[in-house]
C-alpha cells in the first residue's frame, strides 16, 4: 500500500510538471456567457443520494432543468476515490465534465488551479454575490494564489455546505449521573471525572484515524487566536511547536489519557468503529465532525442525544465543505455558473439544512427540524465569530499520517508530549522549506 502510494505520487509529480507546461499555452478568456448556448450540462459529484448534499443537489438539478428548458443535465455519481486520484488526468482530457464537486485544499483544488485546469470564478462570484454569502474563514478554502496555496488570490470554487467539529453527548447517560452540559473546559473536565469515578470511559476516540488529532487540535485552539491559526495554516509566521498552544494541546491530551478519559486501546480504533460505539451507547461523549449528524439522527434509537461546541473555545476545527469547480475545459461554463447560483438559493440551502447538512448561507429560521436547528445554530455561532480553524493535517502533504502516528504515541504512552511535538514539527518545517517560506 505504501509503495503504491509512493509510486502514485511520483507519477503525479511527473504529470504535474507536464501539465503545468501544457497549461502555459492556452488559457482562454472567461466571459460570463461563454457556453451559454450549450445544450448539455454534464455534472459530477460524489455524495450519496440520501445525504443532505445529495438531496439538495438533486432538487437543484430539477430547478435548473425547469429554468433551462432544452438543456439536458447529464449527472453522474462518481466515487470519491476516482475523483481524488484521477482529477488531473480527467480534467486534462475531453472527458472533463462541465461542473463538478472537488476537494478543497492545497493538494487538490490548489494544485489543479495552479495547473490551469480550473476556471477562475472571481468575477462571477462578485457579480452573483457568492462572495458575500461566505464569511472570511469559509472563503479561505475557495481562494488559491499562483502557487496553489489557499487563503488569497483568485476564487476557484464555491462551497454549498460547511463542517465543524463539535461534542456529541448521550443525554441519558448525562442524566443518569446528574450532569449538566459544560460551558468551560474546567466543567468539561469535571464531567469526565464523574464518568471515570463511575467506571465509565467518557470519550469515544478513534486513534487510528482523524478523530484523535482533532481533539488535540481543539485543545491547542483553546489557547490560540486567529493569528496563530493563520500562522499554522497559511504560513504567515513561523509556528513554535513548543509554544503555549500546541504544547498545551499535547500535554492536556496526555493528561486526558492518564486520567482515563481516553481509553488506552483507542489507539487502534477507526473512526467508523468510534461512531458505531457511540451509537451503541457505550461511550457518553464523542468529539467529532458535523458529518456524523445526519447519520446519528437516523441511527441512534436507544437513547436521547445532543451536541454542544467544545466548551470554552472560540476556534473550532472545521472549514467549508467541498467545492463546486468549473473545469477549464468545460463546454458550458455559463450554465455551470447558473447551476452554482441555484445551489446558493435560500430554498436549496434550507433543504440542505433540513436534511442534516450545514448550509453556508443558512437562515436558522428556515430550518424547521428541531434537531437540525441545533446543528445549524451551533454552526452560526462558530461562523459569526469567524471561528473555523480548519484541520490540523492541512499544512503539509502527507501530514495526516504523521499526526495519526504522533497522537497514537500519546495514547499508548510510547512517547512523551515533547517527543511527539518534535516529531510532528519536522515534516511541517520541511514543507515550509520546500515552499521557500
Amino acid at each position: 500500500m505504501i509503495l503504491f502510494r509512493a509510486g502514485l505520487s511520483a507519477g503525479a509529480l511527473l504529470l504535474a510538471t507536464s501539465l503545468a507546461l501544457a497549461a502555459c499555452g492556452g488559457s482562454g478568456d472567461s466571459s460570463s456567457d461563454e457556453g451559454s448556448d450549450a445544450k448539455v450540462l454534464s455534472l459530477w459529484h460524489y455524495e450519496g443520494p440520501n445525504s443532505a448534499m445529495g438531496i439538495a443537489w438533486n432538487k437543484a438539478i430539477e430547478e435548473f432543468k425547469s429554468s433551462h428548458p432544452g438543456v439536458e443535465v447529464k449527472f453522474e455519481e462518481k466515487s470519491f476515490e476516482q475523483i481524488q486520484q484521477n482529477a488531473q488526468m480527467i480534467l486534462n482530457s475531453d472527458s472533463a465534465p462541465d461542473i463538478m464537486e472537488y476537494n478543497k485544499g492545497n493538494a487538490t483544488a490548489g494544485l489543479l488551479s495552479k495547473q490551469g485546469l480550473l476556471t477562475d470564478l472571481t468575477e462571477e462570484s462578485g457579480k452573483r454575490g457568492w462572495d458575500k454569502a461566505l464569511n472570511s474563514s469559509l472563503q479561505t478554502t475557495t481562494k488559491y494564489d499562483d502557487d496553489g496555496i489557499m487563503g488569497s488570490g483568485k476564487t476557484y470554487g464555491v462551497p454549498n455546505y460547511a463542517e465543524y467539529v463539535e461534542v456529541y453527548y448521550n443525554k441519558d447517560l448525562f442524566k443518569k449521573y446528574n450532569l449538566q452540559v459544560p460551558t468551560t473546559l474546567d466543567e468539561f473536565t469535571k464531567v469526565m471525572d464523574t464518568f471515570v469515578q463511575n467506571k465509565v470511559t467518557p470519550l469515544a476516540v478513534g486513534g487510528a484515524e482523524y478523530p484523535a488529532q482533532q481533539i488535540l487540535y481543539s485543545l491547542a485552539l483553546s489557547k490560540a487566536d486567529r493569528a496563530w491559526v493563520d500562522d499554522y495554516q497559511l504560513y504567515k509566521n513561523k509556528v513554535d511547536f513548543k509554544g503555549p498552544q500546541l504544547k498545551y494541546g499535547a500535554d492536556t491530551f496526555k493528561q486526558w489519557v492518564d486520567k482515563g478519559y481516553i481509553a488506552k486501546n483507542s489507539a487502534g480504533i477507526k473512526a467508523e468503529d468510534m461512531g458505531v460505539s457511540f451509537t451503541q451507547g457505550k461511550f457518553p461523549i464523542m468529539i467529532s465532525g458535523s458529518w456524523w449528524y445526519g447519520r446519528f439522527v437516523n441511527e441512534i434509537k436507544g437513547f436521547e442525544w445532543g451536541t454542544f461546541l467544545f466548551p470554552g473555545n472560540k476556534l473550532h476545527p472545521g472549514s467549508s465543505g467541498n467545492l463546486w469547480v468549473v473545469p477549464e475545459k468545460s463546454k458550458a461554463k455559463a450554465l455551470a455558473y447558473d447551476f452554482i447560483d441555484i445551489t446558493m438559493k435560500p430554498e436549496i440551502q434550507a433543504l440542505l439544512g433540513n436534511n442534516g447538512g450545514v448550509p453556508v448561507a443558512a437562515d436558522a429560521s428556515a430550518i424547521t427540524d428541531p434537531k437540525n436547528k441545533e446543528l445549524i445554530e451551533n454552526f452560526n455561532k462558530v461562523s459569526s465569530a469567524d471561528g473555523l480553524a480548519f484541520y490540523p493535517d492541512w499544512p503539509a502533504p502527507g501530514y495526516y499520517d504523521v499526526l495519526v502516528a504522533g497522537v497514537q504515541g500519546l495514547i499508548n504512552g510510547s512517547k512523551t508530549p515533547d517527543q511527539v511535538l518534535t516529531e510532528i514539527q519536522k515534516p511541517y518545517d520541511e514543507n515550509l522549506a520546500d515552499l521557500g517560506k
Binding site: 466515487s79 472527458s95 451509537t279 451503541q280 441511527e299
Partner: protein
C-alpha cells in the same frame, strides 16, 4: 486442493483404520486446516452477514452480530443506484475478450518461442517477464497519454488492449516453458504427415495443451475481472465502468456505509466466484498437465 488430496488416499486405504483414528497428528493437522479455512472464509462470512443486515441493526449490534431478519434493501438499492446490470455486462465483456485474446496471443508467442526456437528467445522471455513484473502504477501515465492520442481514453477498448497485453506477457512466459518440453515425437510425426507450421499449431499443439490453455483462460478472466486500478483511471464515464470501479462509489470522504458496502462487495464478488466454481475442474487438472499422454 490440499484437503481433497489428503482425503483421497485415506478412503482407499482400509487396512489401517484404527491407526488412522488414533494418530493424534491427524487431528492436529485437521484442526490446523480448519483454522486456516476459517481464516480464509471469515472475511467473506462477515461481508455476507452485513450485506443482509439493516443499517439500524448494524448501528446497534455492530459488525459481528447476526442480523435479526434478512434485509435485502441494501443489495437492491445498490443495484439500482449504480445500474449494476450494465457494470456486470461491461466487466463480463472486457474480461471475456481479454481472456480469449490473451490466450490466443500467448499461444502464438509461445509457439514461436517455445517450439519455433526463435533466435534470442531467452531475451524475449526476460523481456516478457520484466513486462509482467512492472507495477501498473508505472504504466499509468504513458498509457494515459497514448490512449488520449488515439482517442481511446474513457473507452472499454483501451482496457481490453492493455490487459490483453499484460495477461499475454504472463501467458507467453508460462506457455513457452510448457512448449519447450513439448514431445518432439508428435511434432516429427506431424512433419512427416506433411502438416505445415500453422496446421501443426492448430491440429497438434493446441489440442494437446488444451488443459493448460483452459487454466490460462480462467485466470485471465478472473484477473481482469478483479482489476481495479487501471479501469479506475481509464473508465471515466459511469456507463463504461466495470464492477470493481462501481463498488468504489460507496467509499466516501469521511464516512462509509458499511451495510451497503458489504452488499456491493457480495454481489461484486459473486460472479467471479461462480466463474471460478464452474471452471474449477479445469484448474485442478494442473497448469502443466497434458503435455503428453
Amino acid at each position: 486442493m490440499t484437503l481433497t488430496a489428503n482425503r483421497a488416499p485415506a478412503k482407499t486405504d482400509p487396512a489401517t483404520p484404527v491407526a488412522k483414528r488414533t494418530n493424534p497428528l491427524r487431528f492436529v493437522i485437521l484442526a490446523a486446516l480448519l483454522a486456516l479455512l476459517l481464516i480464509v472464509v471469515a472475511p467473506l462470512l462477515i461481508i455476507a452477514i452485513n450485506a443482509v443486515k439493516s443499517p439500524a441493526d448494524y448501528a446497534t449490534g455492530g459488525p459481528l452480530s447476526l442480523p435479526p431478519h434478512l434485509y435485502w434493501d441494501g443489495i437492491v438499492d445498490f443495484w439500482k443506484r449504480v445500474d449494476f446490470g450494465q457494470k456486470l455486462w461491461n466487466s463480463f465483456i472486457t474480461s471475456f475478450t481479454v481472456a480469449v485474446l490473451g490466450v490466443l496471443l500467448s499461444v502464438l508467442n509461445a509457439y514461436a518461442l517455445g517450439i519455433g526456437k526463435v533466435k534470442g528467445r531467452l531475451w524475449f522471455l526476460v523481456f516478457f517477464l520484466v513486462a509482467n513484473l512492472l507495477p501498473q502504477e508505472v504504466l499509468v501515465y504513458p498509457l494515459y497519454f497514448l490512449s488520449k492520442e488515439v482517442q481511446l481514453y474513457d473507452s472499454l477498448i483501451s482496457i481490453v488492449i492493455i490487459f490483453t497485453v499484460i495477461q499475454a506477457a504472463f501467458g507467453t512466459y508460462l506457455l513457452t516453458s510448457v512448449y519447450q518440453e513439448f514431445p518432439t515425437e508428435l511434432l516429427d510425426a506431424a512433419d512427416v504427415d506433411g502438416a505445415g507450421k500453422l496446421r501443426t499449431l492448430w491440429s497438434v499443439v493446441v489440442p494437446v495443451s488444451r488443459p493448460t490453455l483452459g487454466v490460462l483462460f480462467t485466470f485471465f478472466f478472473i484477473w481482469t475481472w478483479n482489476e481495479f486500478f487501471l479501469p479506475l483511471v481509464f473508465l471515466v464515464s459511469n456507463e463504461n465502468q466495470t464492477v470493481p470501479v462501481a463498488l468504489g462509489v460507496l467509499q466516501g470522504d469521511r464516512l462509509m456505509d458499511v451495510t451497503m458496502t458489504s452488499s456491493s462487495g457480495l454481489i461484486g464478488i459473486l460472479p467471479a466466484l461462480l466463474f471460478f466454481l464452474i471452471f474449477q475442474r479445469t484448474l485442478t487438472r494442473g497448469i502443466t498437465a497434458g503435455a503428453i499422454k
